[in-house]
Symmetry: C2
Subunit: 247 residues, 2 copies
């Protein structure tokens, strides 16, 4: 990659193999094509199965390969740019935005870290809205939106049903609050079993966890913890979402 | 995490173990403490080595554990929030910002994806500045900053030396360009051997790759590809960088 230091860094055994396979993917395989099984691949490249597996794992991390249950290992399409920098004064996925689908609404105790962010007592139940974000018709993120009762006071008065209707009720009430701003963080995580299922991944798969704080005049009115597929998504920030780069 | 769907999702074997270890980390271990070896841990929790290893890998992905060469597995401190959303009109790490250290400067062919972003010919060499970003005195990111000759025309006239002095020359010239904006993307990658070395990680370790396009009146004047440690960093965006959450 145009640096002068590669000579001095020790390259692990599978590293060269990774490059060789990567080139083979470019020249001999089409996007979506199923790779031969590990035994055949190891024979083709003249390497041990363990070395092959390491190289394949790296290529999966880098988004070049996808492992799908019941299908096998396929050549991945380029990652999809997913914009996570909504306008500062707009609630994402509320109103006409059809990319977000409300799946479920409950009342539950938030995880301790979320309770702290929301500044509610650790044992105080909050509204929890579960949403799914779609990109090009595929699920790209599973989100839990935590909303303290104090943010949506009108809701407690109504006899809120559970499930999807409840989720929509919370979102409708949220929309009435004027957003002053939002901030977010991105970090590496592993998919919980429930998120993994919705995202068609195996539990424990690496994911990008985007945590957003929504600020209104009353303080932090909601916190969203969204789990994005790390294999198919590239999160984009800023005015142009067409940033297209292979790492 | 307060959802109603956990019953229906299949939990892999090591999942429960992960939770048990996570609780043990909270109660029995201090940050920085070295964990007993795998054999001892497997015996303590009454599980097979393979199951234990899977649980430890998950906890490493989630930032709870760190594996360090020559040290072993230690309890990780909370991830460090690293702000990657600089003011739209300011070059990051240029001028008085001491968080970025210029390590090296060369001229080289950029990777194809970067050449496309910069809109230069695939075989046209560009200036490549290698920088290291520090957070609390620790290396948190290794960056390659690609700058076409046309962005810094004054530089080609001078007899630019190589290495650090050259890097500083490119940065000094860049600073003269007024930035109109910048956009970035975040995606999962694996550490190249040279980056891994600078970040004190093993090659292939999961990293967060932040790609930034710098826009000036003349178009895209530079592209930065920065590799952040995924184990110790939480990337923050927005006005407040104090977002503190455990995934």
């Amino acid at each position: 990659m145009g640096t002068t230091q590669l000579e001095t860094a020790p390259e692990p055994k599978y590293w060269h193999l990774k490059t060789v396979i990567s080139e083979a993917l470019d020249s001999d395989f089409a996007v979506g094509e199923i790779l031969p099984n590990e035994r055949e691949l190891a024979a083709r490249f003249g390497v041990a199965r363990a070395t092959l597996r390491q190289a394949l794992e790296q290529l999966e991390l880098e988004g070049r390969l996808q492992r799908r249950r019941g299908v096998g290992t396929t050549v991945a399409p380029p990652r999809m740019g997913v914009d996570v920098s909504t306008t500062q004064h707009q609630w994402p996925g509320v109103g006409e935005d059809t990319a977000w689908q409300a799946v479920d609404g409950t009342r539950a105790i938030a995880p301790p870290a979320v309770s702290r962010l929301l500044d509610v007592e650790a044992d105080e139940p909050v509204h929890v809205v579960r949403r799914l974000r779609l990109g090009h018709g595929q699920p790209v993120a599973a989100e839990l939106l935590y909303v303290p009762a104090s943010s949506v006071p009108a809701l407690s008065a109504m006899d809120a049903p559970s499930g999807q209707a409840r989720a929509r009720g919370v979102l409708r009430e949220l929309q009435r609050l004027a957003l002053c701003g939002q901030d977010r963080s991105v970090e590496l995580g592993s998919a919980r079993a429930d998120d993994a299922k919705e995202l068609d991944r195996l539990p424990g798969a690496p994911v990008l966890v985007v945590t957003t704080r929504y600020l209104t005049e009353g303080g932090i009115s909601a916190v969203s913890v969204a789990t994005y597929r790390a294999d198919t998504c590239r999160l984009t920030f800023g005015d142009s979402g067409d940033l297209q780069i292979a790492s």
